[in-house]
């Protein structure tokens, strides 16, 4: 298979998954809704201590984004597994890793990207200083794809189980924590007016590593789940 047909397959699968999410809008919007609800409930629960809310804002935003992303993971492969499309993907004439990357990209465009776009509004709501906003968006831009890529490994391992939900969290959360720590601390630093180039480079390195490596175990795990 030449490179052109591989690109075509990648783009086609990406388009297909986005189209399916669009036709199942009510499901696809759930992670975003969850994110908005959790973040808006925090000030209500904490009370009128604006200093405290402001100090907690980076952590709250990042934890909510992480949980929203984790809740949506199952949808990457579940429906394909149930209707037999996953078998067809594994039997495709193209490398499975590339197809996995297409599916994860579609998942991020549907779940991660909207989180990033809404985050500044919620940050203002929590009173995050203006100088932290760009750092928040940048960390989410670099961090949420890592969550999708790493999460895909967990989903691929558990897709054959009837109730994989809890196991996914156990498998994936330890791998999520570095992203969370780095992401929220970067926003805190930026909000305090400190330079964050170093942390952003670290996050970018994580993304590059996940992009290059995560599809391999995901493809292997999918083969295991189907055999």
């Amino acid at each position: 298979m030449n490179r052109r047909s591989l690109t075509r397959a990648f783009l086609f699968l990406l388009k297909r998954d986005m189209l399916i999410s669009f036709r199942r809008r009510s499901e696809a919007i759930n992670p975003l809704l969850f994110f908005v609800i959790v973040v808006t409930l925090f000030p209500l629960g904490i009370g009128s201590d604006t200093k405290l809310i402001q100090a907690m804002a980076p952590g709250v935003l990042w934890v909510a984004a992480l949980l929203a992303s984790m809740l949506s993971l199952d949808s990457i492969f579940r429906s394909d597994f149930e209707d037999g499309s996953l078998e067809q993907l594994l039997l495709s004439a193209h490398p499975v890793t590339v197809l996995v990357l297409a599916k994860v990209t579609a998942h991020w465009l549907v779940t991660g990207l909207p989180l990033m776009l809404v985050a500044p509004l919620l940050a203002v709501l929590l009173g995050l200083p203006g100088q932290g906003l760009s750092a928040l968006m940048l960390t989410l831009l670099l961090g949420t794809p890592v969550l999708s890529l790493v999460g895909a490994i967990g989903v691929a391992l558990t897709v054959g189980l009837r109730r994989g939900g809890v196991i996914i969290s156990l498998l994936v959360l330890p791998l999520y924590t570095p992203v969370l720590i780095l992401g929220s601390s970067t926003v805190q630093f930026a909000a305090a007016g400190l330079p964050v180039n170093g942390q952003l480079s670290m996050l970018a390195a994580m993304l590059a590593l996940a992009l290059a490596l995560a599809p391999l175990p995901t493809a292997a795990a999918l083969r295991l789940s189907l055999s």
Binding site: R16, E82, G84, E87, A93
Partner: protein, 214 residues
């Protein structure tokens, strides 16, 4: 790469040797051997649960066998990987049809994932008798229509080996006739078919080899 290979009928394309498979600590089959030449059709028979589907999944390379080898043109299929997958089309128990997508989108997807054939989508729709259904989401199709759509993969891609698990499930007699015809043509063109079926199979007089699993 585009036209199905037509090597001399004497050479076997698919060779299965000493295949051994275990499921739930039980031997499904041991020492299974067979060879398939170009143009041959193999019908795998046996009672429920005797491992027909498992055998087909091993032949696809989705499932690993305990021991034994499956070779395509002399090479083990694990080694060939994606270049083996270009040669096969598999239709399993599940249709592999995306219900949210339209008939047309499903066929295009099959083409994009496989090694697309020269047939136009219009031709394919005409053959599987779903002409006029292009923009209909697959979820509103009947079970038989959806099965025909799943089997359209055989037409949308250029594959030499068709691996079909109960292809005739939920098809009416006309639907069965369409695909029996297609298999006969495929065999005449030098293609291979491995299938299971609970229906009596009649492919317009084309000779069918039978493999019985116990």
């Amino acid at each position: 790469m585009n036209a199905p290979e037509r090597p001399g009928a004497s050479r076997s394309l698919l060779e299965v040797a000493g295949l051994h498979c275990v499921r739930d600590d039980k031997d499904l089959f041991t020492g299974l051997d067979f060879n398939l030449h170009a143009g041959q059709i193999l019908l795998v028979e046996g009672r429920n649960g005797c491992g027909k589907t498992t055998l087909l999944r091993i032949l696809c390379g989705i499932r690993a066998q305990e021991s034994g080898t499956v070779r395509w043109c002399g090479e083990p299929i694990e080694k060939l990987g994606a270049s083996y997958h270009q040669r096969i089309a598999y239709v399993g128990h599940h249709d592999g049809v995306k219900r949210e997508l339209t008939v047309l989108e499903n066929i295009r997807l099959a083409q994009a994932l496989g090694n697309p054939s020269e047939r136009s989508v219009g031709d394919i729709l005409e053959i599987i008798q779903l002409l006029g259904y292009d923009d209909v989401p697959a979820q509103v199709l009947s079970a038989g229509q959806r099965r025909r759509l799943a089997l359209s993969r055989l037409l949308a891609t250029n594959s030499v080996l068709w691996i079909l698990d109960e292809p005739f499930t939920s098809l009416d007699s006309r639907g069965i006739a369409i695909f029996a015809n297609l298999m006969a043509t495929h065999s005449a063109d030098g293609g291979l078919v491995v299938m299971t079926s609970h229906h009596p199979v009649d492919l317009n007089g084309v000779e069918i080899r039978r493999l019985r699993l116990f």
